[in-house]
Amino acid sequence: MKNKTLIIPAILFFFILFILFYLLLIDRKPSELPSVLINKKVPVFKAESLLNDNIFISEKEFKNELTIVNFFATWCKPCLDEHVYLKKLSIGENLKIIGINYKDDPKKAIKWLKELGNPYYDVLVDYDARIGIDWGVYGLPETFIINSKGIIKYRLVGPITEKNYNMFKLKIIEINQ
């Protein structure tokens, strides 16, 4: 090896070190996956409604006003915890919340909503996770904000909590503009 090349390992080392420090110091969520549906149109799907005999057709909905889509199930404890915040949101004007009951027992879900209250404009049934997969859902709960033109603008992975409730509301206002 020539004399000059002997310094190359040191140079490479500092370069890699810099990258590692950067990775360590930025705010990362190693276990969270960013949604690839942001700024895309709502997926096309049809679903049965939980509480009535209607069939929900996605192309007909998601127009004219901001919509929130919340994936939940009775077997998911954080979904239970966030329910109170969903109810709070549902009292707000100018938005609809659609619930998607993911891989659940419809009877249990109906009972659950009766006991806790129903914040949803409509509740759809996703027996086999197909709707969830179409939305890129990988864990419960997940909540999406869709603007009045039917474009998905934001996804929250995890429950709405005291900590992020205000942030979530602000996001809604931001998207509405």
Binding site: S31, L33, P34, S35, K103, Y138, T161
Partner: protein, 134 residues
């Protein structure tokens, strides 16, 4: 509260690990009758990442989401969709992350070409040595 979600997620992850300790995930009732199609489905599954596990493919994991995706892939294979179409379907919903073999794209050029560049540099060094030794 956030802690509880992550707790839920971590519980899922940990439980998936224990399901990793339970046998390999494909169940008899999932297996397609046509063994060629089944083999295709297995090979595709081996390249699809289990999103609620650590570094496992859906072929290896017994998590619910893994099973749902396996069933989905098999029905698509039966329907005559190509491997490429099936991968694209998953990427459209979950991003490039869902594939264990990184796609050759602009942002993975370095990943795929560096090993061979390393090799070429190495061969050059060996050649230089050999030349100078004579």
């Amino acid at each position: 509260m956030m802690k509880k979600y992550f707790f839920s997620l971590i519980v899922i992850i940990i439980l998936s690990q224990f399901f990793l300790l339970t046998p390999h995930a494909v169940e008899p009732d999932e297996v397609l009758e046509n063994s060629k199609l089944e083999l295709r489905a297995r090979n595709i599954s081996k390249n699809v990442r289990c999103l609620v596990c650590q570094n496992q493919s859906i072929d290896d994991s017994s998590a619910d989401l893994a099973k749902d995706l396996r069933v989905l892939i098999r029905s698509k294979v039966k329907n005559g969709e190509s491997d490429q179409e099936i991968y694209q379907f998953l990427i459209d919903r979950y991003g490039d992350f869902v594939l264990l073999k990184p796609l050759l794209k602009f942002n993975t050029l370095i990943l795929w070409f560096m090993p061979f560049i390393f090799l070429i540099i190495g061969i050059f060094i060996i050649y230089q040595h050999h030349k100078k030794s004579n």
